[in-house]
Symmetry: C3
Subunit: 155 residues, 3 copies
């Protein structure tokens, strides 16, 4: 019987958007049965358009910066967009797949995407903003899968 | 034999305060045996008074904002309190239970709360600030439960 | 057969640097077989010199502060270094082991450290900046260990 992995994706920033899709596609490639439950800010990762997925250096002194920059400069207007642009260029230059590509790889490998209905309602997300083929459910349904999983991670 | 879930709650912000109590009460409702280990900022969630549990838009560009706002405006005095107030109003308007209610639901369902003694000492928390009926322990004790658990999550 | 624990360390701040080393050394002391996969900002924890591992109060209203401080003051120049210095003094005064000590304890207990090769390349980390005796690998290799583990946590 194949291994199972259950992921709970709660973050919606560019850096923390990678782990669910990388781990999901990797496990699927190993033949595992994978489900990802998208909740809280993680719902941003189900949008058709991922251009608004950004990164912020604020509050994360561990982020390697191309140019050392004092905290007060990090919050100048446009700095978030600039950090996002620089990170995307770096990812591209190093040959790392884009979020869209990794998400598509998950879909092609039959990774199941579940959107948390409660958070969808809370943040007034619209189903038409999300990609097709996802399911909507609650924590209880997901927990049943998680309880049988070999690996379960809260991201 | 019933399933077991072990949660490690390390965050103390309003958004990340929900997952341990939602997952804990959901699993308990399914008949699971649940323990939550509160450590680092997660200890804030054991306070009798949860009014100081706040949310911050800083460093989280994924937070859906009612009004788009540049980063430098997010750090004006009072903005953290305003974001917290708006989030609480949204939760209430959408019929989501309060943190206090979900925590109480966990207690009534026999979810076991363990406070990390090391962090209690480190941050000078006082036992009288915490709710009654919680245990105090270390990582080693908790790991024994975690090692038998079907699901173990670091939140 | 001994229990197994797989940790994924993705954060590089002073506060979130503790959990992988505390959980790793604790599990090892209980006789568990432990592997830690360092990826994204977590790679900062493998540097020979951990002096640059800092903490930031920004975006974390749950951090207990010795002196209440408005958000705009938290981002004044030098405030990140001051918060880091104060946290280190507190840890020392309370007798909590340093990161270096806990990391060494993990090493002496045969906790296996794996650096994520993809992130090493992405952020241009140099192998000579890292401590000796670590392995380099990808998510797929680590997933095989994780699939056999009793506890697997994403930190």
């Amino acid at each position: 019987m194949s291994k199972k992995m259950a992921l709970i994706a709660t973050k919606g920033t560019l850096d923390m958007a990678y782990p669910p899709f990388i781990l999901g596609s990797t496990a699927a490639a190993l033949g595992w049965d994978v489900q990802i439950f998208f909740t809280f800010y993680g719902l941003q990762l189900l949008r058709k358009d991922l251009d608004d997925v950004k990164i912020s250096p604020l509050g994360n002194p561990a982020m390697p910066m191309p140019v050392p920059m004092p905290v007060f400069a990090q919050m100048l207007p446009g700095m978030e967009s600039m950090a996002t642009m620089m990170m995307k260029q770096k990812l591209k230059a190093k040959g790392v797949a884009s979020l869209e590509q990794l998400r598509e790889l998950c879909r092609e490998s039959d990774v199941k995407f579940v959107a948390c209905q409660m958070t969808v309602d809370l943040f007034d997300f619209k189903r038409e903003d999300f990609i097709d083929g996802i399911e909507y459910g609650g924590a209880a349904t997901f927990m049943k899968f998680a309880g049988e999983a070999d690996v379960c991670l809260f991201i």
